[in-house]
Amino acid sequence: MTTYTLTEGHKFRGALNDFLYLVPSGGIFAIDPLSSAILDELNCGPLSREQLIGGVSQKTSRLPLEVAECVEELCQVRAIRDAAVTFIDKPEPFPEHFPLQTLVMNVTNQCNLSCQYCYEFGEDKIATPEGKKKFMDVATAKASVDYLFAQSEGRKSVHITFFGGETLMNFPLLRHVVEYSNEQAARKNIKIDFSLTTNATLLTPHIIDFLAENRVGVTVSIDGPKEMNDSFRVFSNGRGSYDIMEPKVRELLARHHTRPIAARVTMTSGAMDVFKIYRHLKNDLGFHEVGFAPVTTSPDRLYSINEPGMHSVFAQFGELAQEYMQFALRGELHGFSNVSDTLAELHQGVNKSHPCGAGLGLLGVGPSGDIAPCHRFVDSDEHVLGNVTTGIDKKKQTAFLDRGNIGAKYACHTCWARPLCAGGCHHEAFVRYGDTGHPNLHYCDWIRGWTNTCLEIYGVLAEKNPSFLDYFAERKAS
């Protein structure tokens, strides 16, 4: 006699329906009350076919034949399984050649601000820039672009992100790279686009016009209204940066219309009022999108957010996400990009082997041309993977990727949120645990809570305004 048991799944409610998020596939199904009753029946443990069908049939007053049909369907999508059968989903081996998609170019490691929490210069920094170039030169930049094109064979489009330090401290090089890359891309018939992250303090009308003309996407690091932004985003003399950047941000938003302009907020003990930050950046300043991320830090720093603080932030995230949903039900775009990002991944049903593309489809390049898994590891001797002139050290790359693979993160193997999270940021893990492959256990509850929030929103939208989800139809990385 067959015995049935639940597989990994996460049931949630959206609008008037029950839904099931399947792990590890990432599939989302709307389930009818009968399916729901079967899953509930199995919640207490495995049951024989007779017990399961008999029990559910009695409770729901449905014919055993009907229950059996439903059991069969749940088996087919692997929502439940025969207890005697174990599905072993072996992680697929890395493809021999994984074409590069994105290159993050740290055009300088110098910055005109001295934000206390900065992962490049702050107390938890891992960079070892001593004796290395401070600004990328033209030859290295060209070599980097050539490297991107050489390594992205088969891609129809590639992407360059400019990063720093403060990116605009090396604007002449940035302009050079954009022009050179456009030439190369046209010659190879490949689409290329650009983005940059900046603290906005060095923006000029001339620079803004260049960014707009070349469709360079801009992300501004800003932590909210003056009092919050200036808690930690300061110049080296301790003076806050808000008053300098605010007029420039307004100018940027007024002149640059070819790409959406985003604000990126680092949440710290000094910037935790999500609503106030969001309202200011979205409504007062006029950013298209606002994305939030808690600061990467050791737990005991002045700027780190403590446990109660994280609870409060999470509660506010939930409320703002509800506001997002109300907008989406009316077919309007809300600017809380954390929700958009998660919905996009849920819509695709991603099932990640790695938390992000670092070391695989995305690489960081430092001013010296050294290759790192991503911009956060640039200039760190411990994490260098190669150089744009000599290529990548495959062994080091494989070692990095093997560490970061979800298959190696045993703590994650029983977590239903792992298809999206995959253990979390490699850099965050290194700062917290000294190991890029360590699961970010300090965020587990948070990630599960957030994924559930977004699943519920996804469920509601799927029922009430499915056309809104077409917005996420295209995969980000294509």
């Binding site: 199904f29 009968l34 999508v77 059968v85």
Partner: protein
Amino acid sequence: MNHLRAINKKARRIEQHVVKTASEGDIVALQQGGPAPKPHVPMGCSLVFYPGWEVDSAGGTAGLCQPVERDLFDCYVTCFWPAHVPDHLNNSPDWTSKCATGTKDWRNIDIVFP
């Protein structure tokens, strides 16, 4: 499917897979049940008498796999089973020459030592 409705892209792919395999009759584990087995008439092996002949390296049959031990001759003549039989083309062209009918003459087949 009557009780589940695919919502996201991955679920739609799962649904397509289920529909496709249901129509094709994919390979499933025995424990999984699946569709009722259809009548199956084996060729040779269990219907007719064909004894086994080959020996293992110790001169016995303990080291041989089951089909070889039981039905070697039939595997060699009619069946698809890839049994280890003496090479009939180059090294042992005559090893069955004294065995016209398996059931009667099986004792006449030579033992071949590789």
